[in-house]
Amino acid sequence: MKVRIPRPRQSYTRSPEVNARGATLAELLRDLDRQFPGLRFRMIDEQERLRPHMRIFVNGEQVRALDRALRPSDRVQIIQALSGG
């Protein structure tokens, strides 16, 4: 499925959009990390929590649970808040 990558993380992917696989959001993120080592830890901490200011949308709906089921036709968008000085 298509995954939109926020600009600050395109240093890993070299592209704003990539393909990844996974029956759940957790599996998808692991597949992203397999393709782009180190990417996952910048978004998910060692306790499997979404880091602050990271947001993930599936088909336009914000998702917080990493066990959210995914279908191959789903569109996943990773958003990173930008604020502060």
Binding site: P37, G38, F41, M43, D45, E46, Q47, R51, S83
Partner: protein, 396 residues
């Protein structure tokens, strides 16, 4: 006859009983970590001409940038951003190229149902003992100690500290630390024994291990705490910066929230040498710098710790203070610095010394300037400006 081999300040110095010739480093580089990236400030042997190289990691917070003095090749940078997880980068060519660490410091996954900790950033990087090539230590925020044995590529938690129930209690939680998080800092390795370690913890005190980090014990006797709190409580102690004298590893100096101290092992009680500072200046500050060869000499950079703790140069008149007798007396050093309306803040990692003779000193301000002295603080000049907020500087 050669004495102790000292790996210090980026080059190997051997001391002999015969006269020691004045030496200047063949090359010197100041490693600058800032809120918006890293810069390398390359100096000539005379330390008069400087060339700025950067930015590296533009836009990222670079908490600490350290060159391994053992090989003068491995350069580690601790980075994070306001919105992304932390990581470490390694360079083997002085910053021309960088490779991300495959396993940066991270706490273990907690059992289901239990809250777990997550590294917010690596605050302090320390190369390991000279005899343990490739080893590094990292102090994190929240408090955590990590060790690498492969030059900073993979890191393992030091469970003896991180998972010790008593230490977990002393470390407290995020609300117990500095506004930007509690920090484990001042990771020191005794040059005589790789297993002999010291650490400092903001809100948590100074601690010692003699078995490579498996077991730890507090070293807080004689240290004062904020008025009204119980000094016997480890968690109330707030060391800002602890340094170990390279040529006398039994001597430590400390800039604490509550004063300047010295400890001579095997004693366990710190002496507040800051009481010998001029009373109108006091002994509040953040950095502590020790002479690379003379254990009687150390420098501090006093800050205003009155009222709401402005943390700026006292009266807007920045100055370093030096002791050359182990803290018995102190001398103000401000020649060349502004004498008014210079409200500098210098973070605990933003002052350092090189290993030249005479020693060069370097101060980085939160207003983005680097000031240097080629003569152990007698005179100062600005060697870089217009940088972002400086978090840390190291001379290599």
């Amino acid at each position: 006859m050669h004495r102790q081999l000292v790996v210090n300040g980026g080059y190997v110095a051997t001391q002999t009983r015969a006269k020691r010739a004045g030496r200047k480093p063949a090359r010197i580089v100041i490693l600058v970590g800032t809120r918006k990236g890293a810069w390398l400030l390359h100096g000539d042997a005379a330390r008069r001409r400087w060339r700025l190289d950067g930015p590296h990691f533009l836009g990222q917070i670079v908490h600490h940038l350290v060159l391994d003095p053992r090989d003068r090749i491995t350069l580690l940078a601790s980075t994070s951003t306001g919105h992304l997880g932390p990581t470490l980068f390694r360079s083997l060519d002085l910053g021309h190229t960088w490779v991300e660490a495959r396993h940066p410091p991270a706490f273990p996954k907690a059992p289901d149902g239990q809250p777990g900790r997550a590294v917010n950033h690596t605050f302090w990087l320390a190369p390991g003992h000279a005899g343990e090539t490739g080893t590094w230590y990292a102090g994190t925020s929240p408090h955590g100690l990590f060790r690498s044995e492969d030059g900073g590529d993979r890191w393992e938690p030091c469970a003896g500290l991180n998972d010790n129930p008593q230490y977990r209690e002393w470390m407290g939680g995020p609300q117990d630390g500095t506004p930007d998080g509690p920090k484990l800092h001042s990771v020191l390795i005794d040059s005589r024994d790789a297993r002999h370690l010291y650490i400092g913890m903001s809100s948590g005190g100074v601690h010692e291990s003699v078995d490579g980090g498996r077991n730890w014990a507090p070293l807080i006797e004689g240290l004062e705490v904020v008025q009204g709190l119980d000094a016997s409580e480890v968690r109330f102690h707030d060391p800002h910066c602890v340094r170990l004298c390279p040529t006398r590893p039994d001597r430590l100096y400390q800039q604490n929230h509550c004063g300047i101290y010295r400890l001579d092992r095997p004693a366990r009680r710190w002496t507040r040498i800051g009481r010998n500072m001029p009373p109108e200046v006091g002994d509040i500050g953040f950095p502590m710098v020790v002479h690379p060869r003379d254990p009687e000499t150390a420098w501090v950079f006093p800050m205003d710790g009155s009222t709401v703790w402005p943390r700026v140069a006292i009266g807007g008149r920045p100055a370093a203070y030096v002791t050359r007798d182990g803290g018995e007396t102190w001398e103000r050093q401000d020649r060349g610095m502004p004498d008014s309306q210079a409200w500098w803040t210098v973070k605990r990692q933003a002052m350092c010394a090189d290993a030249g003779d005479p020693v060069g000193l370097y101060v980085g301000t939160t207003s983005g300037e680097i000031w240097a002295s080629r003569d152990e603080g007698a005179a100062w000049s600005c060697i870089a400006r217009h940088l972002p907020e400086i978090y840390a500087i190291e001379a290599a």
